[in-house]
Structure formats: structure tokens, C-alpha cells
């Protein structure tokens, strides 16, 4: 049975109406896309200066009693951990002028925590071993402080392996009790402080001092006084 044409209801929309509506739709989409681009342009950017990237990390072995100790020894140079000793080369150091400033700041912080600095020949309770980490690829490294402690602790062959990987130019400080050695006969790090990437680029004393201070501020268990 055929349905008469006049019984079928059909919306009649002219070409002009469709054109107008589609144009309106396109305009709306253009506004939306423009708004998205504008908002993306003002997306918060985060760090602006190199010091904004500074991170200070400290790690302590939980079972060590720092309060029962009082003296420490510190070398007068800061060695670079580069991996070169494994190839038979001599250790290399950061420039003395910069090392002196860093070591002075470390001394100031240790003193304020109650520690007395003594020479390595005076049987210190702890050895503080600063280094500039220059590689992210070294899993093991050789005795980078042998030039300093070799005459006093000659049996130490493989100093502790610092955990994790640090950015190039990271300043690392370790505290070692010479009377405590691991099962392999090597010293054990009781505390580690790391300032990530701070020895790259130009030396900024304010930035460095702030970071070194922070290393000791976030290690209150080192306080002996």
C-alpha cells in the first residue's frame, strides 16, 4: 500500500538556513580553538633560574650514634669522581679557590653542630669526604681519597659506592667512621649529603652556601652539642 505524499511530515530547511547555521558553528569552533591556544600560551612554566633546580638530598644509616662522637677530619681539596682512577690515572680536583670556599662553609656548619675538626693523623671519630660527582655512569669507583687517607688506612681498596645516580657536578659529602668497616673490609658511609648539579656552570657563592647550609639543616641527628 502506498502512502500519500501529503501524509508524510518533513522539516523544510532552506539552503540559506543551513549555510547560516554551519557558518555560525564554524565561527564558534574558531573561538573555542582560539581560546585553547590562548590558555596554552599562559600555561605555568615552573622554574625560571638555574638555582630553582637545586635539590639537596641526605641519607643516614639509622643505627649510627653520632652523639657519642665529637671529632672529624676533612681533606683540603675536593676530588672529582670521574672514573679515571679505574684507568690508572691520577685523581683530579676542582679549583682550589672554589674548594676552599666550599670547605670553609662545611667547617662552619660542622662547628655549629658541635663537631671539632682535627687532623687525620689525630685519630678522628669521623672522616668527611667531599667530592664532585662528574659522571652518572659509574657503578663502582676506586679510592678517590687514597691520596688523603692512604697513609693511615691503607687497607681500604674499594670505598663505599654512593647509592643512586647523581647529575654531573653534584657535590657529595660522606661521613665515614674509620673504626667501622663492612664485611668486605671497606669503610661504610654513615651519612651522605648530595647537592644535585651545583658544581656545573659558574660558581655562585650564595647559591652554594645556601645549599650546603640546607644539607646540615635537614640532618639534625648530626648535632652533638
Amino acid at each position: 500500500m502506498r502512502v500519500p505524499h501529503d501524509t508524510v511530515s518533513v522539516d523544510k530547511i532552506s539552503f540559506n538556513q543551513i549555510y547560516f547555521r554551519m557558518t555560525h558553528y564554524i565561527k564558534t569552533m574558531v573561538v573555542v580553538i582560539g581560546l585553547c591556544i590562548a590558555l596554552q600560551g599562559c600555561y605555568p612554566k615552573g622554574p625560571e633560574f638555574v638555582e630553582d633546580y637545586d635539590v639537596v638530598i641526605t641519607y643516614v644509616k639509622g643505627d649510627y650514634d653520632f652523639k657519642s662522637k665529637s671529632t672529624y677530619a676533612l681533606p683540603d681539596r675536593i676530588v672529582k669522581v670521574t672514573g679515571n682512577l679505574a684507568e690508572g690515572d691520577d685523581p683530579v680536583f676542582i679549583p682550589d679557590a672554589i674548594a676552599t670556599l666550599i670547605l670553609t662553609r662545611i667547617r662552619t656548619n660542622m662547628q655549629s653542630l658541635g663537631w671539632e675538626e682535627v687532623d687525620i693523623s689525630d685519630d678522628p671519630d669521623l672522616l668527611l669526604t667531599p667530592a664532585s660527582w662528574e659522571s652518572t655512569t659509574i657503578l663502582y669507583y676506586y679510592d678517590y681519597w687514597y691520596w688523603w687517607w692512604g697513609g693511615y688506612y691503607p687497607g681500604w681498596g674499594y670505598p663505599p659506592v654512593y647509592a643512586s645516580s647523581y647529575s654531573t657536578g653534584t657535590l657529595i659529602m660522606g661521613l665515614i667512621d674509620p673504626s667501622v668497616v663492612g664485611a668486605d673490609g671497606n669503610p661504610v658511609l654513615q651519612w651522605t649529603g648530595a647537592i644535585n648539579g651545583i658544581l656545573t656552570g659558574a660558581y655562585d657563592a650564595t647559591r652554594m652556601n645556601t645549599a650546603i647550609d640546607k644539607t646540615f639543616i635537614q640532618s639534625p641527628y648530626l648535632k652533638t652539642n
Binding site: D11, I13, I18, R21, M22, H24, Y25, T28, V31, V32, L35, C36, L39, C42, Y43, P44, G46, P47, D52, Y53, D54, V55, V56, I57, T58, Y59, V60, K61, G62, S167, N196, G197, K214, I217, Q218, S219
Partner: protein, 195 residues
């Protein structure tokens, strides 16, 4: 199969847009975090946008969808964080992006008047993306939260085709994925195009 469904939904909305009574709202959105989101980032968000579409099934009832985006951001300087034997400090840069995707319905109290208050409810999902940046590292957490979103607002007619819009929305995203409940208020202003 999924693409077909998405295509059908898009075609439906495009066709209803082109050939029915409808409202399309483009809004600038400010966000104010509450709960976990407010604790993580206390600063309000001044970066956000919302696109609302409603098909008027009756003169005072509209149903449709909502797409939105708000980014919350805050820098934290120098705080010390300790976990077991490890402590670290430095500047943290926190980002929380919220992308609500909702089915929505509104009820218009005075559809024939120049000032037309309305209330509505949305239901759907919200993609929450949280990044905690420190140094060159980022901790990324995300979730697809189930969302309920009540809304109140007002339309102020400027011309027969265009109205101004002011509205407040509250997004309550339930716990999901890596994140606990993510919720925030949004205050939106924008334009509504009537067809």
C-alpha cells in the same frame, strides 16, 4: 567499535546543533581546589576554559555535554621532605590538570526573560593529571575520576542570539587511579550562543 560510537555521538551532537534549538556556551573558568586538591595546591587556578552545549528539549530544559579544563599550579620553595632515612629539599613545582567530560542537564527558571537563572547537574568522568616536578624529575600520577557536578548560574540576554553567562560549578571526582578524591569549585563567565 569504540570509534564508531564516538563518531555516532559526535554526529548526533553536530546534527542537533545544526538543526535544533540549542545553547552553546564558551566560558573562562577559575578553579578553587578543595579536599586533597586544595591541600596539594592551595592557590586558585586562573587558567581554565569550559565548553557547554545544551539541546533544548523543552523551552526550560536543556540536555547536552560539557568539556572543560582547569590547571592548578603552585611552586613550593625549599621545604624539607623526609621519608624514612632519606630527606630531600628543593623547589617543587606542582601541577594538577583537570579535564571534566560530562553529560549535563539544566533547568531554566525564566526562559522567556532577559535574566534567566538556571540550575543543572552533570555526570561523567574527569581526567586528573598531577605532576610534581623537582630538579629535572617529575612524579606523575593520574586518574579517571567518576564525577558529579551540580551547577547554578544565570543567563543575561544581550541580543536574541547572544547572552552573557555567569555560573558556579562544583566538581566532585571520586577516588580513582593514583589519586584520592579530586574536587574543586569553578566560577565561570562567558558567552552563550543561541540557535
Amino acid at each position: 567499535m569504540v570509534m564508531k560510537k564516538i563518531a555516532c555521538i559526535l554526529l548526533y551532537f553536530l546534527s542537533t546543533y545544526a538543526f535544533g534549538q540549542s545553547l552553546t556556551a564558551i566560558q573562562y573558568s577559575m578553579g578553587f581546589g578543595t579536599g586533597d586538591l586544595g591541600s596539594y595546591i592551595s592557590k586558585p587556578s586562573f587558567r581554565g576554559a569550559t565548553l557547554d552545549f545544551r539541546k533544548l528539549v523543552q523551552p526550560n530544559v536543556g540536555i547536552g555535554f560539557e568539556l572543560g579544563w582547569n590547571v592548578f599550579y603552585e611552586g613550593q620553595s625549599g621545604e624539607i621532605y623526609t621519608r624514612d632515612k632519606l630527606s630531600f629539599s628543593g623547589n617543587q613545582y606542582r601541577y594538577n590538570n583537570q579535564f571534566p567530560l560530562l553529560f549535563a542537564g539544566d533547568y531554566y527558571l525564566k526562559p522567556d526573560e532577559k535574566i534567566n537563572p538556571f540550575a543543572g547537574l552533570g555526570i561523567g568522568t574527569m581526567y586528573s593529571l598531577r605532576n610534581t616536578n623537582m630538579n629535572v624529575y617529575t612524579l606523575e600520577e593520574d586518574a579517571w575520576n567518576f564525577v558529579l557536578r551540580p551547577e547554578v548560574g544565570v543567563l543575561i540576554e544581550a541580543t536574541p542570539e547572544i547572552s552573557f553567562m555567569l555560573c558556579g560549578k562544583y566538581y566532585h571526582g571520586f577516588e580513582a587511579g593514583d589519586l584520592p578524591s579530586q574536587s574543586y569549585f569553578a566560577l565561570n563567565i562567558g558567552f552563550v550562543f543561541k540557535k
